[in-house]
């Protein structure tokens, strides 16, 4: 089924040229999924190392927790 674009409230079918361009954009986006997911996970993991977690690094358990996060980040970085 042809794609539709909504122009000022009116649905208009894509032209053949627009379909081709859109196919290329979607393919490029799909090809980058692994990288995007890895970057999103890195951002999430980095965000979990809060000031409280850093203060808790004075304990062995606290150090282990941060080490585990660093290891998880390394796994994701390898996917980039």
């Amino acid at each position: 089924m042809a794609r539709m674009k909504n122009v000022d409230g009116v649905n208009i079918p894509f032209t053949a040229e627009e379909e081709t361009a859109r196919d290329a954009e979607e393919a490029a986006w799909a090809a980058g999924e692994t990288t995007r997911n890895a970057q999103a996970e890195i951002n999430r993991l980095e965000g979990t190392v809060t000031p409280r977690r850093i203060r808790e690094m004075t304990t062995d358990a606290g150090k282990d927790w941060v080490d585990a996060v660093e290891a998880a980040i390394a796994v994701e970085r390898a996917k980039l």
Binding site: R3, M4, K5, N6, V7, D8, G9, N11, F14, R22, E25, E26, W29, A30, E33, R36, N37, A40, E41, N43, R44, E46, G47, T48, T50
Partner: protein, 216 residues
């Protein structure tokens, strides 16, 4: 002041004597009214199953200084990102070069992740952060303010506040996310059309309000 009618023309009206309602008056007939900063609804449209949404009319530098675009959209499938592009030829084509835009953001989600940054260059104006690859049924509400679309020799700037919430939560991104963006189209060409589009193969459904802020 008395109410006067001279030769079938109303020349003055005593408000205290006006006990009924005025008839509906076309906005086109309401002239010479102080309007600086007042808002006007340029367009409100709905879209269903659209791959792209384009706004190609309503930009008028003689009437408006600034614009606001309020978007409510639901993506139909996972793996997508809603973004925006500009046009300076009325929508005949939209700017998609890899360094046409620059985006800076701050975002947080309820899984405990916060983050921010400035991109080096982009082929889109971002409306939300991260990606929705693992999420299904993402609802996005975005409020885009455009304060200097018509400023001569200036880049067009876009302030975005958006909120996305997910029908099915995801352990990595959480069930909700808030985003604040300051984005720019790195060109002094006048923007006179906008395109909303998805990265990914899905369509989206929703509505938008396009509002102008009057110059005077």
């Amino acid at each position: 002041m008395a109410t006067k009618i001279t030769n079938d023309n109303i020349t003055s009206v005593d408000a205290a004597k006006l006990t009924g309602t005025l008839p509906a008056i076309s906005g086109a007939n309401l002239t010479n009214m102080a309007g600086g900063g007042a808002t006007a609804l340029i367009a409100r449209n709905t879209f269903t199953g659209a791959s792209t949404v384009e706004i190609t009319s309503g930009f008028d530098g003689s009437v408006y200084d600034s614009y606001r675009l309020i978007i409510r959209s639901t993506l139909a499938a996972a793996g997508n990102m809603l973004a925006m592009r500009t046009s300076s030829n009325g929508g005949s084509s939209f700017d998609s070069g890899g360094a046409d835009y620059k985006n800076s953001y701050w975002a947080s989600n309820n899984a405990g992740g916060d983050g921010g940054g400035v991109g080096s260059g982009s082929n889109r104006l971002s409306l939300h952060s991260g990606n929705l690859d693992s999420d299904l049924g993402a609802n996005l509400v975005a409020d885009v303010f455009m304060p200097q679309i018509h400023e001569s020799g200036k880049y067009a700037v876009f302030f975005v506040k958006s909120f996305q919430y997910l029908d099915t939560g995801n352990a990595s991104v959480g069930a909700v996310r808030m985003n604040t963006w300051s984005n720019v189209r790195e060109s002094t060409s006048t923007v006179n059309a906008l395109q909303l589009f998805n990265f990914g193969s899905t369509t989206h459904t929703g509505s938008y309000q396009f509002i102008g802020y009057k110059k005077a």
